[in-house]
Structure formats: C-alpha cells, structure tokens
C-alpha cells in the first residue's frame, strides 16, 4: 500500500517495534485471562486476546486466519462465553479439583501438550528443506477450481477433513440441543439498539454472502460467512427475538443436516464415475466447492445461533414434551 515508504529502514524498525509489542501484549493478555479469578474479567480479556491474535495473523500474512479469528475466535466465542456467564450460579463454579479429575492429571496433560507443541515448533523451524506441503498446494492450485490456496486446501485437497469438521459441529450442536430449553429471552431492546440492529442486519447478511463468494479467490469462506450470519442472529436475539431469527424446529433440522448432506452427496456423486470420494472433476470443482460452502455456511450459522441460545428454542418437541 505504501510502496514509497517500504524500503526505508525506519519503517522496518517501526514494524519490528509493533511486532514486539504485539507479542508481549499477547502473552500478557493470555496470562491475565487465565490468571484472573473473576470470570467476567477473564472473558473480556479473552475477547481482547482474540482481537490481538487476529492482528498477529494479519502480520504473519495469513488474512484467512485473521478473518476467522476475528469473526469466530473473538466475536462469536466472546458472545457465547458472555451468554454462558449468565448461567453461572451466584455461588460460582465448583473448582476443578472438586469435579473428579485430580489436579496433577490436568497439570501433567498441560505439560505434555506444551512439550509436544514446542517439539512441533522446533521441527517447523529447524526441519529439513524437503518438499513442503505449501509448495505442493500452490503447484496444483490451477486444478483445484479456486484460486485462493486456503480454500483449495480446505475444500479440495483436504475436503475430507472439512467434512469431518462439519460432523464435529453437528455433534456439538446436538449436545447443545440436549441441554434443555433455550435461555430465557432478554427484555426487548430500546429504540437505539433497535435502530442499530436495523442498520447492521442487512450489512451482516450481505457481508456473509460476500465472504462466501470471495472465498474462491481471496480470504473468506464458509466459516467466516457463517460467523457473519450467526452475528446477525445474536443481534436479533439481543433485540428481544426469542428464536434469534431462526426458522421453526423443522427448518432448523434441515439447516443443520444441510451442510453434511450436501457435502456427502457431492462426495458420493463425483465418485460414481469411478473416482475417489470427494475427488471433484476438474471442470466442476469451482461450482461444487461453492455449493458445498453455501450449505456449510447455512449449517454453521444455524449451529452457532443455537449455541448462543444455549438449548432448544420454542417449537422443539422431544417425545411428547414441549421443548420451549
């Protein structure tokens, strides 16, 4: 952007200072978020931490991850945590040690995880100069149907991983639905929040569609787009809409199944010609990826909205009992 300045030494020095400040702040916020005893304070620090992580990803030239972290890591997760905070009893949560798992086991697990992560980092930094996966991914980009390498990895080379990830999302939202009825609706919003919602809602929906479409060529994709739609649902809920703008229970079931169903149908469909599961034919790859991503976006948005509601909205029936 500022080409005329980029080769000057002092700009390099400024970037270095900025990166150093980011790294120090990131570690400080992480320590503060984990260390505080006040849950509300911890959540606020965690949201700030997520925004900072998004900045760090942007500095590492990973705009896809920066977008996902800002939308899901800081935005939606923050909203989920704040909503869950209202369920904490006034007496506070029972301490970890009282919940069955001995503390030494948790500490041992944490230390093991830290050692493994350190080992992985060491390998990544000092590893051999063999064939890197990134080179392979870029070399085959023209066959993938999209020109954004991240989307190519997620929806083409490693589409099976993404397929299973949607399965994880579905399993998680089934767990949420099993928790019980949704949280009680907040009181109706005042005129100021209502006009803000009226302003933001169409923008969020258009941005979601844009992120879905642009994901083929630039940072974006189903997860970021789904987070945008989920943010619209959260806003509606904050405005007093008890179901957060979701369709009825049958519609929600269809939306939740859609992501997996379209993915599986496409995967099986392309394998009828003798190919492997999810090995798209070259000419159709772009269209099929867009189809899968559109279905996945709707499913992710519905799942996140249900997670924010924290249970079954009105209209769900389990056996012969009303869900709401």
């Amino acid at each position: 952007m500022i080409d005329s300045l980029i080769d000057k030494d002092w700009v390099e020095a400024l970037w270095l200072i900025l990166d150093f400040a980011l790294a120090v702040l990131l570690l400080g916020l992480a320590a503060a978020a984990v260390g505080t005893r006040d849950l509300r304070r911890g959540i606020a620090l965690f949201i700030a931490f997520g925004l900072l992580v998004a900045l760090v990803w942007a500095r590492l030239r990973a705009p896809d991850l920066a977008l996902a972290e800002a939308a899901i890591g800081a935005g939606v997760s923050g909203a989920l945590l704040l909503a869950a905070l209202r369920d904490v009893p006034p007496s506070g949560l029972p301490s970890v040690g009282a919940r069955g798992l001995p503390l030494w086991l948790l500490n041992l697990g944490s230390v093991t995880l830290a050692v493994l992560l350190g080992w992985a980092l060491l390998l990544a930094l000092a590893g051999s100069d063999g064939i890197r996966l990134a080179d392979l991914a870029l070399a085959n980009l023209e066959h993938s149907g999209v020109s954004n390498p991240v989307t190519a990895v997620l929806l083409n080379y490693r589409a099976y991983d993404t397929f299973l990830e949607l399965g994880v999302v579905l399993a998680a939202v089934l767990g949420v639905l099993a928790l019980g009825p949704a949280r009680r609706s907040v009181r109706p919003a005042g005129p100021v929040l209502n006009s803000l919602i009226r302003l933001l809602l169409p923008l969020l929906i258009v941005t979601g569609g844009y992120l879905l479409w642009i994901g083929a060529t630039a940072p974006g994709g189903a997860f970021q787009a789904g987070a945008m739609l989920a943010a619209a649902a959260v806003l509606l809920r904050l405005g007093g809409d008890a179901t957060a703008g979701l369709p009825g229970a049958v519609g929600q079931r269809w939306l939740l199944a859609l992501g997996i169903a379209v993915f599986a149908a496409v995967g099986l469909g392309v394998s009828t010609g003798g190919g492997a599961f999810l090995a798209y034919p070259h000419d159709w790859a772009g269209v099929l990826i867009l189809l899968i991503e559109a279905a996945a976006m709707l499913m992710i948005a519905c799942a996140l909205a249900l997670a924010y509601l924290g249970g079954r909205p009105a209209g769900w029936t389990i056996g012969d009992r009303e869900g709401g």
Partner: protein
C-alpha cells in the same frame, strides 16, 4: 507530499487515541470515561482513516475507509448509550 499529509493525519489521530485512552484510565466515573472514549477515539479513527486513504491514494479504498468509519461511529455511539443506560437503570456510575 500526499504521503507526508497522510502520515501527519495518522499522527494527529494517534494523539486523540492516546487522549481517549488516558481519559479511560484517569477519569473518575463511568459517564466521563465513556465521554472520553467515544469523543476522542471516534475523531482519532476518522483522522486515521483519512490519513490511510491519503497513503493508499485510491478512491475506492478511501470510500471503503469512510464507510468503515461511519459504521464504527454508529456502533460506538449505540454501545456507549447502552452502557450508560444500563448503568443508570442499575443506579451505578454516579
């Protein structure tokens, strides 16, 4: 020349951000803190956006930055109102 103007605007914007942050830390109660944040930071962000638009030298980017600034203005005005209203209903912040 345009770069210099842009950098100057960004520098001025940062001064307003600093003032807003100091106000948040130093002012005595919730309402004056909100006042410091919403006034100073919104102006700072506007100056920052104009400065970045000068550096980019592209009309499309300038329009995008303007729209972003307007969005942040709307969101920050509404959230400051919500925080103040919540505090008033709870009888805090006086």
């Amino acid at each position: 020349m345009l770069d210099a103007v842009g950098l100057a605007l960004i520098g001025t914007g940062l001064v307003f951000f600093a003032a807003g942050s100091i106000g948040l830390l130093r002012l005595p109660d919730l309402h004056s803190r909100l006042h410091a944040l919403t006034k100073a930071d919104n102006l700072g962000l506007g100056l920052l956006a104009v400065g970045v638009a000068f550096l980019a030298g592209d009309l499309l980017i300038a329009v995008k930055l303007l729209l972003l600034w307007l969005l942040v203005l709307a969101a920050s005005a509404a959230s400051a109102h919500l925080i103040a209203r919540h505090a008033r209903l709870r009888g805090q912040g006086r």
